[in-house]
Symmetry: none
Subunit: 522 residues, 2 copies
Amino acid sequence: MQVKLFDTTLRDGEQSEGISFTVSDKIKIAKLLDEMGIHYLEGGWPGSNPKAVDFFNAMKSVKLKRAKMVAFGSTKRHGNKASDDVNLRAIVDSGVRVACIFGKAWDFHVTHALKISLEDNLELITDSIRFLKENMDEVFFDAEHFFDGYKKNPEYAIKALRAAEAGGVDVLVLADTNGGTLTHEVEEIIRVVKTKVNTPLGIHAHNDSELAVANSLIAVHNGAVQVQGTINGYGERAGNANLCSIIPSLKLKMNINCMTDEELRTLTEVSRHISEIANLPHNNHLAYVGKSAFAHKGGIHVSAINKHSETYEHIKPELVGNEQRVLVSELSGVSNLKYKAEKIGINLDDKDPAVKELLKDIKELEKIGYQFEEGEASFELMLKRATGMHKRFFDLVSFRVINDRYAKDDYHLVEATVKLMINDEIIHTAGEGAGPVGALDHALRKAIESKFPEIKTMHLVDYRVRVLNSTDGTDAKVRVIIESQDDYETWGTVGVSANIIEASWFALIDSIEYKLLKERSK
Amino acid sequence: MQVKLFDTTLRDGEQSEGISFTVSDKIKIAKLLDEMGIHYLEGGWPGSNPKAVDFFNAMKSVKLKRAKMVAFGSTKRHGNKASDDVNLRAIVDSGVRVACIFGKAWDFHVTHALKISLEDNLELITDSIRFLKENMDEVFFDAEHFFDGYKKNPEYAIKALRAAEAGGVDVLVLADTNGGTLTHEVEEIIRVVKTKVNTPLGIHAHNDSELAVANSLIAVHNGAVQVQGTINGYGERAGNANLCSIIPSLKLKMNINCMTDEELRTLTEVSRHISEIANLPHNNHLAYVGKSAFAHKGGIHVSAINKHSETYEHIKPELVGNEQRVLVSELSGVSNLKYKAEKIGINLDDKDPAVKELLKDIKELEKIGYQFEEGEASFELMLKRATGMHKRFFDLVSFRVINDRYAKDDYHLVEATVKLMINDEIIHTAGEGAGPVGALDHALRKAIESKFPEIKTMHLVDYRVRVLNSTDGTDAKVRVIIESQDDYETWGTVGVSANIIEASWFALIDSIEYKLLKERSK
């Protein structure tokens, strides 16, 4: 059986409390999901959100491997001609070739929210779908509140699907919009629906009853060929169906070949990377991809695992790119480290004591909160320093930041001084900025630019801060991730400290070292 | 139908990475769960864990309303007489009247882990159960790896259940120990099992495939009368079946009267209280009990909810003691603002020019990056200032932060000075910290504590930073969210600035203002 994966992290996922993506965040996520082999990427609602239009425009110059971008919207407004409807026009004008629109399938919503007749709603659906089909390659219909509507008025819910079918829709997506439907109800209803329509079915589940994954899988078990969900289950209220749980169950347990083995092995990394982009902590207890998902604490389990890992593991963690962890004694790593080093072209020798030392250092750094997924340039520098492939270009002697604010006249001044040693020469500069990190950045650049003019071609594109042990309040440790860019490349560096200025400093100097090293190895 | 709730937070829940309960924590949790109407409380494994014995002893003097304490253990060791088996004796000696023991139902585990014959294992089960039944009121059998075992060797899995039946067991609990079983498989298997045994069935599910809740509910739908799970789904790896999601679905959707309406209304509070005891942040996106479970962000949803709340809510949040929240964000309008104001007891008059001014201010603040979703206390202060209900308790005159770092000897010093005006009096203090915000926080607290000693009872529990227009690099605007707590409440405040120290300052002073205002309106 063929099942297509439809990701809506960029649209429904962004409805999650606490998530707000920039256009460049969205581009990064789209690339990651495409790399992993997701078939459809719902990018936003061009008719209601100007940021979605910017995103679709930006995506025109991004080459995707396989994924198709999808524009979202609703059926036309009552009374409009489909071709004049602003919302539908925005979908067609978005430049993508696939549309997904929602319409009402619950009679109560038609009469009480839209306040139109049941017949008129069917006409809206057919006409909207038909217009989109004339202008696009594929059109999906999200039947909103389908299961609730079906329970109240099954005939009308089916009529709504048939109206979309009459318009030539490609997939009828049954939405459990409020997330309240139980798994056995989804099964019972979908078994009937199958006999009433001729179009392939899809499923769009929400997690308000903690059943979104089960409801999605039971729909596929009963014939659905498209699953809509989000990475890490992000979404409004209790979230959407979590693709990170659905995909491995489809592939490993239901033998549905929805992505390749290699793609599936990136799942854990993609899940964690996207949580970094969303600036949300990654939940350790997530199924399949959580840090604790294959972590064993109980003494009995641990000894059994040493004999036969299948005794307490439902799948081999490597299949989804995760790893087994035994909590009593953290034994892991060398192979992991070698794998990462190979990725950046460094061959590590197992027997080299420097490699063992490095592994210890990395464990230490991870313990205090470093995380190299978004700071791969820092990781590469560390590997190269440890293997003697790189020496620092400059050394810090001292810095000072002074931040003054007077309420009177709203006066403020932020000034930084930096003293560096470059090839036995002392360089001492000062700079100002809007904040302490900006002031330091400006002073540092001034100090270095005379010796290394190439840093003028690089600039910062992202600066993110995460508080690690937040229970320590304002004395907590923070992790700073800086993303830098030149004309050719983007790279991420990381710094950790209880002092945000210092953490930023570490990430800043790594970002510059990386650039200088890159220029020299050309 | 009668369904009994069996909580194992105190035993399996404690296997979660990051959880370790003291005896007094366990007593507190037992009381909370009893108050809520849970039927069985599995307290621990007296045969393997001395802390469990202390706990059972301590519980002897605690009067429970209805819950029965349960001692956990395994079948006797091969070769032992049941009455001489240390493990079984410990259960009998624990002083509780209900036992739950696990035994092997998967042939592979019998021959490869226990390394005994399949027949001998059946004898172990029968004899262990019989001995416990002779000494206790009720005995449950957890058939370990039941579903995996059944898939490999259905005959033997059934034989294991029948062996427990022969010993006089009260409930046969089918355990999905590795959490890998799919929901439709649970259903298919339980339908067959029902026809093979005469004893009532129970379900014990793990969440490794994010299906534990669905698997528990489908088991009940097919006749299981006991559900084992934990509060908030705590447990090893991806956790156990989450009772906080199972209970409301049983009662509100499957009409199973497993607790009273009043008891169900305490669910959200119990869930949050136990996460406090476990010292883990409460996951906002938990179904039913999460802070975001009934939080609405989308503009369309909000206006629909004002008309008919069932349109986007699967249950009334009050039924589980939770509440509806309308998130003030990008798309909000007057109705959103009025709704929020009413909730904190402020009546806003549409025609009042101050209200219009306020709405304009909020839009402005949101445009520069304020987000009141997680800074609700700041929002409330703003409303109260705008409507003349609140005047600031203190005013800033000036502050200064100096951050020095010398590479030599790894020397660093962070010092802040704060000058405030409180009732026409100037207060000037200094403080140090690990970083600039910590130093400022310490100096500020010193300045205020003399006049407002009540701030000693509040502390910061979370400090988060998000960079807004990150393309401006280190000069980008940042949003700081601070979460504070006293003995009664948690509140969030927000500050935005291109200077992280200033953004933190805004959030800090709001958090203190909110506390002071709260104390004065008591």
